[in-house]
């Protein structure tokens, strides 16, 4: 399928996303591909921007995907930049929840960048989402287009969630832009030992709001208790609960969990596969299992 016809919203249009008016240098026109409804009249409180490192860890990608999924399911439009890593995970999460997601691009809205994101670009457009940019369709992105694009992402949403970022990075730039616009910057904390946590943890230290799950973002966006998405998974049999507890310290292979539990390898493999089926755990390509945000009944 092709990107479909492109469209544009002038700054004077009523449908021009409200958040962009807060920019001193709001683009005179916003070019788009995909569904215009995804951005038409978009209020900052109706969407959330999720950004982060391209070279993200499985933890970061997992959290971003899950946040996006839950927030999209709660009705928010998920805005991100279609880069590798966190951005892609956020778009995918929103699509998985049949939600709406908007990619803000540095090149033309019909130009998939990076080129390997072509498939994601197509999926965003065909799922009722949109790609938008302040440059005309067909424009290939230039280096200085990215910081400019970051200010659009920051302006669109009331809350910008930073998942993983190096101390100095494009993501930090987006967070700074959000702060200048008096938007809320929220961060997902990470281990202090990881260089990819340096960005979020520094923001946290400076007073950004910590985010543990989608509920925290919803509370920041809409006010505490307006919408609730926190849910509990099904109850767990003892061996499943034990396997889940063994994942508490972070991702682990089946062998590591087996060693931790001292049970038979095939029993543990079954337990982990079941946890995956129930949505409690997720495995990456190399077979390392990690917990998702889903809580079991009786857990904290």
């Amino acid at each position: 399928m092709t990107a479909g016809p492109s469209w544009a919203l002038a700054r004077e249009d009523a449908a021009y996303p409200a958040g962009l008016h807060d920019l001193d240098d709001a683009p005179p026109a916003l070019f788009g591909a995909g569904s215009p409804n995804a951005v038409a009249g978009l209020e900052p409180s109706a969407c959330v921007t999720i950004v982060g490192a391209r070279r993200a860890t499985p933890y970061g990608r997992g959290v971003a995907e899950e946040l996006a999924r839950d927030l999209a399911a709660a009705g928010l439009v998920v805005v991100s930049g279609m880069a590798y890593g966190i951005d892609s995970a956020a778009h995918r999460g929103a699509i998985a929840a049949n939600g709406t997601t908007v990619a803000v691009l540095a090149g033309g809205p019909d130009v998939a960048y990076p080129p390997s994101a072509r498939r994601l670009h197509r999926e965003i457009l065909s799922s009722g989402g949109a790609a938008v940019a302040e440059v005309e369709p067909g424009t290939t992105p230039v280096r200085w287009g990215f910081p400019a694009r970051n200010r659009l992402m920051a302006a669109l949403a009331a809350v910008t969630v930073v998942v993983e970022a190096a101390e100095r990075s494009g993501t930090r730039h987006t967070a700074d832009a959000a702060e200048r616009l008096h938007r809320t910057v929220a961060v997902v904390p990470g281990p202090v030992t990881s260089p990819l946590s340096a960005g979020p943890n520094a923001l946290l230290f400076d007073g950004a709001a910590p985010v543990r799950d989608a509920q925290d973002v919803l509370d920041l966006t809409l006010g505490v208790g307006v919408v609730s998405v926190r849910s509990l998974g099904p109850a767990l049999e003892p061996d499943l609960a034990a396997a889940l507890a063994a994942l508490a310290d972070g991702a682990a292979t089946c062998d590591a969990v087996t060693a931790r539990l001292g049970a038979a390898a095939d029993r543990v493999a079954v337990a982990l596969a079941r946890l995956e089926l129930l949505g409690y755990a997720r495995a990456d390509g190399a077979g390392r299992y990690a917990r998702t945000g889903l809580r079991a009944p009786g857990e904290g």
């Binding site: 292979t253 089946c254 062998d255 087996t258 060693a259 493999a269 089926l277």
Partner: protein, 511 residues
Amino acid sequence: MLALARTFALHGVEAREVRVEVDVRAGIPSFTVVGLPDAAVRESRERVRAAISNSGFEFPMRRVTVSLAPADLPKAGPGYDLAIAGGVLAASGQLPDELLAGLALAGELALDGTVRPIHGALAMAERARRSAIGRVAVPAANAPEAALVNLSEANGSGPAAGVVVLGLRALAELGAIAAGGGPAPESAPALPPADAVPAGLPDLEDLRGQPFLRWALEVAAAGGHSLLMLGPPGAGKSMAGLRLQSLLPALEANEAIEAMRIAGVYGRASAQASRARPFRAPHHTISAAGLVGGGSPPRAGEVTLAHRGVLFLDELGEFSRDALEALRQPLEDGRVRISRARGSVDLPCRFMLVAAANPCPCGRGAGEGDCECSPAAVRRYRSRLSGALADRVDLSVGVEQPAADALAGPPGESSAAVRQRVVQARRRQASRLGRGRCNGELGTAELRRTVSLEPGARSALVAGHARLGLSARGHDRVLRVARTVADLDGSESVSAEHVARALALRRREQR
């Protein structure tokens, strides 16, 4: 005077009959070989001339013409020496004509008349049997290999009578054979019993503290499933791959003969008859032609040498893209066809693929804190892993360095114990699918026909679709593995438990 000797040319992994016509007549002394000989065959003239003179015969000082028929089949290598010498001796009246009727000859001659070993003796003996040639004379060093031809008959795979295999040490022995003496017929070497673990293989007990990996190896061996191991350097991937061979069931007699015939064609026949499955571990710099076969005349590649055994690709991500793409057809069809202007050869290659790879180019694990790879580099690397092979890899397992106390702990279960369970599981598969077949080769249609699911298993698979985004091919892979897990369990139907185990072993999409 005219004489006719018979010998063989190798074509792919088979032998074809070649007739050596020798004409000796009055004229200026000369020695000509016609019939598409290559350099080694043309040089045969010098070896034959010297060997005849040095064996107590006399090289005829007349006009000698040798024609190798069929004339359009290219002939390569020194294996024609013996037949040419035999023909010259018969045509010059030094050996009786009757000797060459019903006797095929193959061997290289040294200048002193010694017969040197050749490649493909078993393939030649099999051809001799099919062409109803009663006796073959081969170099003494190749005689045990050639004599295996009579073993396959014991298993009822051949209609014709046996072939008498004579092992020659020297050209002079042809005279003794003509006189009714000569070397005694070689008897077929016995195959070792099927239930013995082949000696000299690295044992699984060396693998300590990696129970999941051990279990994955067991399932892979039991069902003939291809296996991908992912993990950082030093985690024990190569060690595990090298130990898979010791878990595999012995070859059936006819399979063993096929494997030994292929090995023999490439000069790799072992001194003893063996039932061990072939194990090939080519280095990652191998070319596509080296891996699947190629060249002119066409030569088999590693996939054919691994026929009925294991092809182990260590450092999968380092293999060239061409080489990995070329694996696609062999994996799919179990055969490679190499087409050349002079016709094509079909080579068998039903092998089990076992691969090991780092999770990213630097090996430290993409996305882990100390990985230095750029996202684009990781992507390129992963696309190489997933491209051609993804659809054919049933099992994947993440491997990590075992904990220090596990390394210091007791050795794991031995290969012999695991192999026993594997053999049991294979036996169940053979009774369901037919002799020598295993779950790893099941296609979609056959899979649906032969796998009976319990109701719980069906719903587990449906949950897999919904929750894990299992594709149609992914579904088939899980089903194949679940069938094997059930076979290991001794169960005729596949339960939810078996499906869950298969899901834990499934290949995960990387992105």
